[in-house]
């Protein structure tokens, strides 16, 4: 790859993708925050008895990490298994990628073993999860009826991304820490340096470019769901608690129902 192409692929495109991602998400969030009403109601909470901020936080964690709402009604086991495998696989893979920018204080050999077995394993779990979700969407008539370009594009790009990632991890086995890692650090510290990328394989280049396209695409479609829950008032605005104490008592004859202080709660 010529130097110009390297600059385009590893400096221009990454910053362009990051700029689109950051400005796109900022725009979407600002639009969400601009709408302030709740269809005329004080609260629109969907989860009962969530009265305190702690109730809301607990619910949000259960929602994001346990997908606890999915088995609540009539169970769709394919959706539950596919979702759990895909998301946990992706999260562990992303954690693995972090090791390229955060010094772990471990030997390169150990790093390589962890990347191969844990990273590769997580990637495989994500891959199988995504295949399950894709098969569900393709095979069920009702799912095809609610699937559009956004859904197919998201699935396709993620499948390509994961396959390229797995190919590197299991077959190419490049020395990430000597090639991709210095470049990634240089990009994130805003001092771009592409020299370490001259020898990387086309598969790694493709993985990077597809991931950058994916990052740029996030604000435009369904992938914005990665942060939308935090802004969804049905989840994050606690339920309105009815004050009952003051309401008891004060009748036209004793004894009264109420706070027992004899003044009828008034």
């Amino acid at each position: 790859m010529s130097y110009i192409l390297e600059i385009i692929a590893f400096v221009v495109i990454p910053y362009l993708a990051l700029a689109i991602f950051v400005s796109g998400m900022a725009y979407r969030v600002s639009q969400w925050l601009r709408s302030r009403e709740l269809t005329g109601l004080h609260t629109v909470a969907v989860v009962p008895y969530t009265f305190t901020p702690m109730d809301v936080i607990k619910d949000l964690f259960k929602r994001v990490f346990a997908f606890y709402t999915l088995p609540k009604m009539e169970k769709d086991r394919v959706l539950i298994v596919g979702t759990m495998m895909f998301h946990y696989g992706i999260w562990f893979s992303l954690l693995g990628h972090l090791a390229m920018v955060i010094p772990m204080g471990i030997s390169l050999q150990l790093h390589d073993i962890i990347a191969l077995y844990m990273g590769g394993g997580a990637g495989l779990v994500a891959f199988v999860g995504l295949l399950i979700l894709t098969a569900r969407r393709a095979a069920q008539h009702k799912m095809r009826l609610i699937s559009y370009l956004d859904d197919y594009f998201a699935i396709s790009i993620l499948l390509v991304l994961i396959v390229l990632g797995l190919t590197q991890t299991f077959y190419i086995r490049p020395d990430f820490m000597a090639t991709v890692s210095p470049w990634l650090v240089s990009i994130l510290t805003f001092s771009p340096e592409v020299s370490s990328m001259s020898q990387i394989s086309p598969v790694t280049t493709a993985h990077i470019l597809v991931s950058l396209i994916f990052i740029a695409y996030i604000p435009f479609g369904k992938m914005a769901h990665i942060i939308s829950s935090i802004f969804q008032p049905t989840i994050t605005k606690s339920s309105f608690k009815v004050e009952t104490k003051e309401s008891f008592g004060a009748g036209n004859k004793a004894p009264q129902v109420g706070n027992g202080d004899g003044n009828n709660g008034q």
Binding site: E37, L149, F231, V242, N252
Partner: protein
């Protein structure tokens, strides 16, 4: 459309409600202070964009759905009909796709992205399917992102309302409420006569002269749904005998004898008008607290709109179940569950108590004290099925659809060998009274239904 279209699994596009005629539309538009749109198509699109931009819960619903289809496993209207447009995601897509057609992606990719131009036929389709939603919020419970299609339905119906497309049933009820202060259109003398009749019945059955006031100053104002003055008299007896038993100084109001608020189903402007009227009557009567009777959606509107408005006036709002629970816990009332016999009572939560009302455990506490054999429905608490008449669907021309919706809770009750279903909600009671005879006939069964205060009445001892 025929007055009773035939139900067809997989396609309910023929299940269209009767639409309000021009004069009725004008009356309620005047009340809401709006002009009826002349260009309905453009007006609908403009209104849709405005309302989505204004309400965050709706904006998030339209923009962040991932089309995972989880809601298809929760929605009673989809499960009962198999029509994708009669599902949460499918219903949202009907309008989402109109929005898409105006965005760059929709203009570039067209139908591939789901974009759909709005025309008169498509608007009719939107209206038809939006009036098949029960607004039960089961979708909001299962959605990982908390997307509540019920609030999208309410918003789209509100825009349809402004465009002059309102179901005749909900428009009539709203008009009644705004003209007479109650959905049934009952005049004050009729209300007073009913209350006196029930008072006499209590005297005859329990030997007690219950005390109450009507349109007088009191500490509390009691507001049941108006159906309780008309068809649920056993429930009314329960309220009156209980409130007397705890010595509550309370008044009925004939000016606003209605807890239900069909503005919740149809249009936020009417939700406010009806709710604000209740607040103004409470203020006029100088009460300290307003006590709500048995009504699911009425309670959601009351709790989430009226109580915050009452509080601005220094008035509290409460559900009668809190009072009953408290009275039981403090021993102020005595009950004899034997009075309710050996029947198996199945409790089925009204949607808007369980999903939006935070009223799940209180009625259960009461029920277990007033009957000997109480069981929960397998689909209970947040999982409860809608009665099939919620959300403004409780109209005769949609009865075939309502019967299909009703099969879900009916089978649930049958699976636990229930004799009587307890649903403390005016809409549930009306829907059950219409559908149980048909379902009993189909299943050669003998299921009955009742409210909760009906059972409190029977069990309450002097």
């Amino acid at each position: 459309m025929d007055s009773k279209a035939e139900f067809k699994f997989g396609n309910t596009s023929n299940m269209e409600p009767f639409w309000a005629k021009e004069d009725l539309v004008k009356t309620i538009h005047d009340k809401a202070g709006i002009e009826t749109l002349t260009d309905v198509i453009e007006g609908f699109k403009t209104g849709l964009k405005r309302e989505i931009a204004r309400n965050r819960n709706v904006k998030m619903a339209i923009e962040t759905c991932v089309h995972c289809g989880a809601c298809l496993n929760a929605c009673p209207t989809y499960i009962a009909t198999g029509d994708i447009s009669n599902s949460p995601v499918g219903r949202a897509d009907l309008v989402r796709n109109v929005i898409k057609s105006e965005k760059p992606a929709g203009k570039i990719f067209g139908g591939l992205a789901g974009a759909r131009k709005l025309d008169a036929a498509y608007l009719d389709k939107i209206a038809t399917y939006y009036y098949q939603c029960l607004e039960c919020r089961r979708c909001g419970e299962i959605c990982p992102f908390g997307i509540d299609q019920a609030d999208v339905t309410r918003t789209v119906r509100s825009v349809l309302h402004d465009a002059g497309k309102i179901s005749r049933y909900t428009a009539t009820v709203i008009n009644n409420a705004e003209k007479t202060g109650n959905n049934m259109g009952l005049p004050a003398p009729a209300l007073k006569a009913t209350i006196d009749f029930v008072k006499d019945e209590i005297k005859e059955e329990k030997g007690i002269d219950v005390s109450f006031k009507v349109d007088e100053k009191a500490r509390a104002m009691f507001v049941p749904p108006s159906a309780d003055f008309f068809s649920n008299l056993e429930t009314l007896k329960g309220y009156m005998f209980f409130l007397h038993s705890i010595g509550m100084d309370y008044t009925f109001t004939t000016e606003h004898a209605e807890l239900a608020n069909f503005g919740l189903f149809t249009d936020t402007k009417h939700l406010r008008i009806i709710g604000d009227h209740l607040v103004s009557v409470a203020k006029k009567l100088g009460v300290k607290v307003v006590v709500a009777g048995e009504c699911g959606h009425g309670w959601r509107a009351f709790k989430n709109y009226v109580i915050p408005r009452l509080k601005e006036q220094g008035i509290e709002g409460i559900h009668i179940f809190y009072l009953v629970e408290e009275a039981l816990k403090t021993g102020k009332i005595k009950l004899n569950p034997d009075n309710n016999g050996d029947s198996v009572y199945v409790y089925q939560d009204p949607c808007n108590y369980a999903r939006g009302g935070d009223l799940i455990e209180e009625p259960r506490y009461i029920l277990q004290k007033v009957v000997k054999n109480y069981v929960d429905s397998p689909h209970s608490r947040e999982r409860t099925w809608c009665c099939g008449g919620g959300g403004g669907v409780l109209t005769d021309e949609l009865l075939p659809l309502r019967v299909e919706y009703a099969k879900l809770w009916y089978e649930d009750a049958a699976s636990v060998h229930g004799d009587q279903v307890i649903r403390p909600c005016a809409i549930c009671k009306a829907q059950l009274s219409h559908t149980i005879p048909k379902l009993n006939k189909m299943n050669s069964s003998n299921l009955t239904n009742s409210g909760l205060m009906d059972l409190v009445y029977k069990a309450l001892t002097v």
